[in-house]
């Protein structure tokens, strides 16, 4: 495509899933009103869930899911060798996601409980950046298709790709929601990166931080306000651990 002096090329893209629910890949097929335009931006080289054709000359690789078995490590490294831009796609890829909750338990205990008497290979859950270099992160559980679309448009037009730097609260207020703290609940909105349109709090359920920490979060002040309101620190702990997205901030907790 060439217009107004700019040359726009279709994005040679591939999508791969690892340990996950495939919900983020599914989002690629959502937002039906602009789906055909969206697909028009892409030259899909490899997307097993969608197409039987598979080529290896992609530039952008969307990586969904976390890593929890040796064969996944190898598959991921091979993708890294090919991809010019490797995208951690969704909270599992960015932070480990809900899958990381298994890391609380010993591998032995896990296998014994779910596959008694069987030999099943598994390892502690890793996020993508624990294994290979990540060029771009699109967090969310699931990713917000509107944001994905915007990012793909930006990549195609050579625009700067950025994530919002404000926390969820900012968007929550634009929805005229009653703050969940006012309703006696702990919400991770003040420390979580916006960009989801505050979808959870608009549905009146607390934010669990799937988009990870916002820019320069004030964790001590956040923990302080939870304490000041005499809310349960266990509850806070459960929420903060949910997507494994606040790893580096755990020393401030409770």
């Amino acid at each position: 495509m060439k217009h107004r002096g700019f040359t726009f090329e279709k994005l040679k893209i591939a999508s791969f899933d690892f340990t996950c629910c495939e919900g983020c890949q599914l989002q690629l097929a959502n937002r039906e009103s602009t789906l055909i335009d969206f697909l028009e931006l892409l030259d899909i080289k490899n997307f097993r869930e969608l197409s039987s054709e598979q080529f290896d000359d992609y530039d952008i690789a969307l990586i969904e899911g976390s890593i929890s078995r040796q064969d996944e490590v190898e598959r991921l490294q091979a993708i890294r060798r090919q991809a010019k831009t490797l995208v951690a796609f969704g909270s599992c890829a960015c932070f480990g996601g809900v899958n990381s909750l298994k890391n609380k338990f010993s591998l032995k205990e896990l296998v014994a409980e779910v596959y008694p008497g069987m030999k099943v290979e598994t390892m502690p859950v890793k996020k993508i950046s624990d294994v290979v270099k990540v060029d771009l992160s699109i967090p969310g559980c699931p990713v917000n298709k509107e944001e994905v679309e915007r990012i793909m448009v930006n990549l195609a037009t050579g625009s700067l790709v950025t994530l919002p730097k404000h926390p969820v609260c900012f968007e929550c207020k634009a929805q005229l929601n009653t703050c969940l703290f006012e309703l006696g609940e702990i919400c991770l909105g003040p420390i979580t990166r916006g960009g989801c349109n505050a979808v959870c709090t608009t549905g009146k359920t607390p934010c669990l931080g799937c988009r990870g920490p916002s820019e320069e979060i004030n964790m001590p002040a956040f923990v302080e306000l939870v304490k000041a309101r005499e809310l349960s620190l266990d509850d806070l702990q459960e929420k903060i651990a949910f997507y494994n997205a606040f790893e580096g901030f755990s020393n401030h907790e409770a």
Binding site: D17, E32, L50, S52, L101, G203, K204
Partner: protein, 432 residues
């Protein structure tokens, strides 16, 4: 099983597909025929396990549905609702009527979305001979537009009733955290009306397709609650005449593992059984909306049908049922005060099963809670798990049949892929 004793058919055949495409998740097919004799037919799921049943241990009941919804991106609403139902029954919580209705509506949306995705994105290319849906955008624009319209409607129904279509936000233990907005319900009702022609387009297209002739008798299992085309809770029934209470799910599944697959297997009266759209159709034909019955007749689909390829058509017929039924549900929600949406509860020890009809069949979550309302034990049995064994047997049978009919390797491979796809397997979900 032996092939018919015909000299010309005594050939060798082997099929080995690694990571079948156009299905959700990673799985392999392998078939070996030697000297005209089927040695092995395998449907092996190699997806990495996530151990959700252990992860939920120690988590508060309040949070658990948000976790279990992440078992599957396509049927997340079903997973959330299965957990919610299990937990509500374990802790003796009665959700308000508005919540029950809204939840059913949310499930309808999910099923519509899931069926549309399967029929138009994954199945249609098999019949048009393309590698994916992408070429159809230009070759069959009306069909694709219709498909997208139905899928969009499904997502919209879920979004209005559950706050978000993938990983719902307002379905909670005790009811709903937020009632659907009446204004949005009104818009939804219009959207449903306007989407009906899209389904007609889809039906016309599917009527032109040649569904492969194949039949293998098996047992179909689904929920039945006597009032609605099954969705949430009820007894578990089979076409072989078995009937059990929801809590007795173990008797209906008899789950077992095989070392080549990270997904498990189940059985009931025979060596394998089936759940899903066709099973629901076969068991609950009477409860279908008359419009849906009419279309079923136009496809010559009658209960009990034993052709797995007809599962695709059963899905299409369910779409019609959903469009009619969802409209009625919205009408009754609009007539209600959407105020009482959540029953307050205090944590309690208990255990119970929650069974729901997910798009691909019955989904069981069994939960045990402690006095503090924390989950202490969980068990989830996924629809695809209930179909795994049957898929394996179908693969063998269809390979045999195709060899007899003198089909070439490519044709057999395609048929095998197609039969698996017709089950609409949800693989990552089955390895949870």
């Amino acid at each position: 099983m032996h092939l018919k004793d015909s000299a010309t058919m005594k050939r060798d055949y082997s099929l080995d597909i690694r990571h079948l495409t156009r299905v959700e998740g990673h799985a392999n097919i392998s078939i070996t025929v030697k000297d005209g004799k089927l040695l092995d037919a395998r449907w092996a799921i190699v997806e990495t396990p996530r151990f959700f049943e252990v992860m939920v241990k120690g988590m508060s009941a309040e949070r658990v549905p948000f976790l279990t919804s992440r078992i599957c991106g396509i049927c997340s609403i079903s997973h959330a609702l299965a957990s919610i139902r299990a937990l509500e029954r374990a802790m003796k919580i009665e959700p308000p009527v508005v919540a029950e209705k809204t939840r059913l509506l949310a499930m309808h949306g999910e099923t519509l979305q899931s069926h549309a995705l399967h029929l138009f994105f994954l199945v249609a290319p098999d019949f048009t001979g393309t590698a994916s849906v992408l070429p159809l955008i230009t070759s069959h624009p009306d069909l694709i537009k219709a498909g997208l319209r139905i899928k969009e409607l499904g997502n919209e129904i879920s979004t209005v009733s559950a706050g978000r279509c993938t990983h719902p936000v307002s379905l909670v233990v005790g009811g709903l955290s937020k009632a659907p907005d009446k204004q949005q319900l009104l818009q939804l009702r219009t959207m449903i009306q306007e989407s009906k022609p899209a389904l007609d387009t889809a039906c016309s297209f599917f009527r032109t397709l040649k569904i492969p002739e194949f039949k293998r008798e098996t047992e179909f299992i689904s929920l039945s609650n006597g009032s609605s085309y099954p969705s949430i809770g009820g007894s578990i029934i089979s076409t072989d005449g078995v009937k059990q209470d929801e809590n007795e799910y173990l008797l209906m599944t008899n789950e077992y593992s095989r070392d080549f697959s990270t997904s498990k297997f189940t059985r009931l009266s025979r060596e394998s059984s089936v759940a899903g759209a066709l099973a629901r159709f076969n068991n609950n034909y009477d409860r279908l909306h008359p419009k849906a019955k009419e279309v079923a007749a136009s496809f010559d689909l009658q209960a009990v049908c034993h052709n797995p390829f007809m599962n695709n058509i059963a899905q299409l017929i369910e779409c019609i049922h959903i469009l009619e039924d969802a409209g009625e549900m919205i009408d009754s929600l609009l007539d209600m005060e959407l105020r009482e949406i959540r029953t307050p509860y205090s944590p309690k020890a208990g255990s119970a099963t929650g069974a729901v009809e997910a798009p691909r069949g019955i989904l069981y979550h069994h939960m045990e809670t402690s006095d503090e309302g924390k989950v202490v034990r969980a068990d989830c049995i996924i629809p695809t798990t209930q179909n795994n064994a049957n898929i394996g047997y179908d693969l063998g049978a269809i390979a045999e049949q195709a060899l007899q009919e003198g089909k070439n390797d490519k044709e057999i491979e395609k048929l095998c892929e197609m039969v698996v796809r017709s089950y609409d397997p949800c693989i990552s979900c089955s390895v949870h």
